[in-house]
């Protein structure tokens, strides 16, 4: 056998016998250790998730796990988290799964979570309270109080509400024990994102509409048909309502009122209008008839097998038959996508974009992308389809207790109260019922009762103002109040456009072009080095929120927004950048369009406190953070400077994550600067990652009028806000 010579040991093992022993030791080579490749991969994922949470350096993240004793548990470890998720998954191979502690929360993975609620964490068995409370870690750093009801732990920020526009991560660490003494096999993390601040908000808030309201205008009977009415359909210009009677007659009636006009006398089962509004397609007696409205001429398509649902795509009419989706093609018909061949499949609706359909397969609700043929299951078994968003990027279905709004991938869900919903082009949702009618934003904010009384199956007109509804089997129409009071109407209108623009960029970038004017198209033209309309890559475009919303001019109306775009990796927010959008109301259509755009640099989200909102009035500035702060660091750390660099205003006061500087006299049109120094610390003692500078103008309007105006950016780079001084 060979003897190895190791110079390292020359002076250690000089005796021949000792070297023999050493050779023996060396000869016993290790066999390969049994290794589960899944473990290796899972551990790598955990590490990377943790690393993403650690960001690019700064204060060691793990220090933040151990904040002051007592109720305070602050953590900055974004990544600790997914450790939990993955390890819990891998732990399923371990013995005793029946004893495993299962942790759930109703807000897990939810977006637009209400601010005024505790974080509820439910365990599948009784827990030891002290160890469980001690094992709770929250990002961002938040001081909390605990309370228990049976196996549910309520974690309540002592500041009251949750921070707005914030991704929270609540981890139950492995130190948590059950009442019987068993420890968690792995940490469990609940992640969710909170909604924007309720007020002041550029979107309609409850105060924007009087409550209760009798603000519905022009309620009037449209049609009374003894046999009943189905398939209500608006013309794209909101001037005409089409419907099918119980006898199968297709009729139309002007929104303004009048006698219905019969288009087809009987046998109609499905109807759709093309985007231009000049052609109607309907299924009648197993054929599809296409009516050119103005000339009144009809052509016929004879599909095989018989159609059950008709719709329009950009290429023309399309329909669903028993075995798939078809469209007209030269010489006959072409199959666009097959329907599933198993189970009981029922086509329900074409999306407004014409490239998706909703259908049920046995108990599951599905959306199929006709381009790829791939389907996504929505909601729980038994979920019902309730409607589309007007742009076809969103869908509504029945959840366990409420209406759920989601994107077509079933993600980004927002629960709304129970009711019969309709989603408007202004991004508002009507909720009708036997007893009243509510309206709210699609993020569930601004819930406002519009009227008492019966409002069944409300259906917004494309203009987002008029709508139809049923009462006593008769079809009525009315107009909802404008989305906001006249004083803020331009801001609300522009905000709606910004929201629609950003949603389109996220979900359907081709449609985003519709919100750009000529200048805006240049700003987003990649051919001339403009901004990217479509945000791609990893980390990916996860969400956005408005940091600023301010009317900056009139004649024409002009509004400026700073939008923060959040990029996520594995559902964790990791980077962000801001775009400043200037919207101008066009003279012809009176529609706001994006006219100018500028982007800031991409910033890595640290695990330290971030500014999430700034409210500016003529007399005060309120800066809201996502973390609880050490109040003593605020006094010298948050300042307002005038255009000459002189500090103004009273000493800052701090309460509930918000720093307020009052005693200001912010004159309209003058430039001011908010500075948040990096000496500001969260409750765990971590300094904010970088100084924030925000240049802003004194708000227009009377003293006390509030404008939401925030644009934090790291110093020394100027914020992307388009203030003259920058």
């Amino acid at each position: 056998m060979s003897m190895q010579h190791d110079p390292d040991l020359d002076d250690v093992l000089q005796d021949q016998e000792l070297r023999h022993v050493a050779d023996l030791l060396r000869e016993a080579r290790m066999t390969e250790a049994p290794l589960d490749d899944a473990f290796r991969s899972a551990l790598r994922r955990q590490l990377m998730n943790q690393a993403w949470g650690m960001g690019g350096g700064g204060t060691p993240w793990w220090r933040k796990m151990f904040g002051p004793t007592g109720m305070v548990w602050a953590t900055a470890a974004v990544g600790v988290i997914l450790i939990g998720v993955v390890v819990v998954l891998t732990a399923t191979n371990q013995p005793g799964p029946s004893d495993q502690v299962v942790v759930t929360s109703p807000i897990s993975n939810q977006s637009a979570v209400r601010l005024q609620q505790p974080i509820q964490v439910t365990f599948n068995q009784p827990m030891n309270h002290p160890s469980t409370e001690a094992a709770v870690q929250i990002t961002p750093a938040t001081t909390v109080a605990f309370s228990w009801h049976e196996n549910t732990l309520s974690v309540t920020p002592t500041a009251g509400d949750l921070a707005p526009n914030t991704q929270y991560q609540v981890t139950i660490g492995p130190g948590a024990r059950t009442a019987s003494g068993q420890s968690l096999t792995a940490p469990k993390t609940i992640t969710f994102v909170t909604q924007p601040p309720a007020a002041p908000s550029p979107s309609p808030s409850p105060s924007a509409r009087p409550t209760p309201v009798t603000a519905l205008a022009g309620q009037h009977l449209l049609a009374s048909i003894p046999e009943g009415i189905t398939n209500v359909l608006w013309s794209p210009d909101s001037s005409t309502v089409y419907f099918v009677t119980g006898k199968g007659a297709l009729e139309s009636v002007p929104f303004a009122g009048g006698s219905p006009t019969v288009i087809a006398p009987d046998g109609v089962t499905s109807v759709a209008i093309n985007p231009a509004g000049d052609q109607l397609a309907y299924i009648r007696k197993a054929n599809i008839e296409i009516l050119a409205i103005a000339p009144g001429t009809t052509t016929e398509v004879v599909p095989t097998p018989a159609p059950v649902l008709v719709g329009w795509t950009t290429g023309g009419v399309e329909w669903v038959s028993a075995d798939g989706v078809y469209t007209a093609a030269p010489g006959g018909q072409g199959k666009v996508a097959p329907l599933p061949a198993t189970g009981t499949v029922t086509a329900i609706s074409f999306a407004p974009d014409g490239v998706h359909i909703a259908y049920t397969q046995d108990q599951s609700l599905n959306v199929m992308d006709l381009g790829t043929g791939k389907s996504t299951v929505l909601g729980l078994p038994g979920a019902h389809f309730l409607g589309w968003s007007p742009d076809g990027t969103g869908i509504m279905y029945s959840g366990a207790q409420a209406v759920v709004l989601a994107d077509l991938g079933g993600r980004n869900t927002t629960p709304l109260p129970a009711g019969e919903p309709s989603w408007s082009s202004q991004d508002e949702v009507l909720l009708g019922s036997d007893v009243n009618l509510f309206v709210m934003r699609s993020d569930a904010s601004g819930q406002t009762k519009l009227a008492d009384g019966t409002f069944h199956l409300p259906d917004w007109a494309p203009n987002g103002i008029a709508f139809t509804y049923f009462r006593g089997g008769e079809l009525f129409a009315a107009s909802a109040p404008a989305p906001a009071p006249p004083a803020t109407a331009p801001l609300d209108a522009a905000t709606s456009v910004v929201n629609a623009f950003m949603k389109a960029r996220k979900d359907n970038p081709d449609r985003a072009n519709a919100y750009l004017d000529d200048n805006g198209r240049k700003a987003y033209s990649s051919a001339i080095g403009g901004l990217n309309l479509q945000v791609t890559g990893d980390p990916s475009f996860s969400r956005y929120y408005l940091l600023t919303a301010q009317v900056t001019g009139s004649h024409p109306d002009t509004a400026q927004f700073v939008v923060r775009i959040v990029l996520a990796h594995n559902n964790l927010d990791v980077k962000t950048f801001e775009e400043t959008l200037t919207l101008v109301r066009t003279q012809g259509s009176q529609q706001f369009l994006v006219d100018q755009a500028a982007a800031g640099s991409v910033l890595t989200l640290g695990s330290t406190a971030e500014v999430v909102s700034v409210d500016v009035t003529t007399t005060s500035v309120k800066v809201t953070f996502d973390s609880d702060l050490k109040p003593e660091t605020v006094t010298a750390g948050v300042i307002i400077l005038d255009s000459k660099g002189k500090q103004i205003g009273n000493a800052p006061s701090y309460a509930k994550r918000t720093v307020t500087i009052d005693g200001l006299d912010l004159k309209s049109g003058k430039s001011f600067k908010l500075v948040v120094l990096s000496t500001v610390q969260d409750v765990s003692g971590n300094n904010i990652a970088a100084e924030y500078d925000l240049t802003f103008e004194g708000p227009a309007g009377k003293s006390g009028d509030r404008h939401k105006d925030t644009s934090p950016s790291p110093s020394p780079q100027p914020s992307p806000s388009a203030t003259p001084s920058s």
């Binding site: 000792l18 023996l24 060396r26 290794l35 589960d36 551990l43 943790q50 993240w61």
Partner: protein, 185 residues
């Protein structure tokens, strides 16, 4: 003279110190080695996975504080490993027979010689397990992991001289024990 492999590793380490997300490359490079070492000590797959997870998590968290002493990065990982295994040993004893892990197959010599030789190796490694912890650790890192004295010193938090002493004492004790256990021929 510059060692390209060391330079490469140093670059990876510096990157990971600046940006923890670069730690993946170090993980890829050292996972197998560390996992195998851990398994050799705890001899149970689930336990080895737990300890390996703990080691790399600790390493990732401690990256910003890592100081390059000129020794391989692995020495530092072994240091974390030795501590993690020591923690584990307080509550867990190896359960598998030793020859489950140490491959005792010897090529070439006649079968009867091979059998005797295997028996000798098995006895030696069984004796290693019975050594005081410090001696055992030093021997495992030296003869199983084939580490240099200076790197073992880092892993064990000792001076190279202390490691040499541990190895000398350990091997000497093995020789004495082996003598006493050697069957009569």
């Amino acid at each position: 003279m510059s060692d390209p492999l060391r330079d490469d590793e140093r670059e990876l380490v510096e990157r990971a110190k600046r940006d923890p997300r670069q730690f993946g490359a170090l993980y890829d490079r050292h996972f197998q080695q560390i996992y195998r070492f851990v398994y050799s000590r705890v001899r149970e797959q689930t336990a080895a996975e737990d300890v390996t997870s703990e080691i790399f998590m600790k390493a990732l968290k401690a990256m910003p504080r890592y100081q390059d002493t000129g020794r391989p990065f692995a020495a530092w990982l072994y240091q974390i490993s030795v501590n993690a295994i020591a923690d584990r040993y307080r509550t867990l004893r190896p359960s598998s027979p030793l020859d489950d892990f140490h491959d005792l197959s010897i090529a070439e010599p006649p079968l009867e010689e091979q059998a005797a030789h295997r028996d000798e190796i098995r006895r030696i490694w069984a004796l290693v397990e019975a050594l005081p912890v410090q001696q055992k650790t030093a021997l495992v890192l030296k003869f199983q992991e084939d580490m240099k004295i200076e790197d073992i010193a880092i892993a064990m938090g000792k001076t190279p001289g202390a490691v040499k002493l541990l190895i000398h004492r350990g091997v000497s004790r093995l020789r004495e024990e082996a003598d006493s256990l050697r069957p009569a021929e």
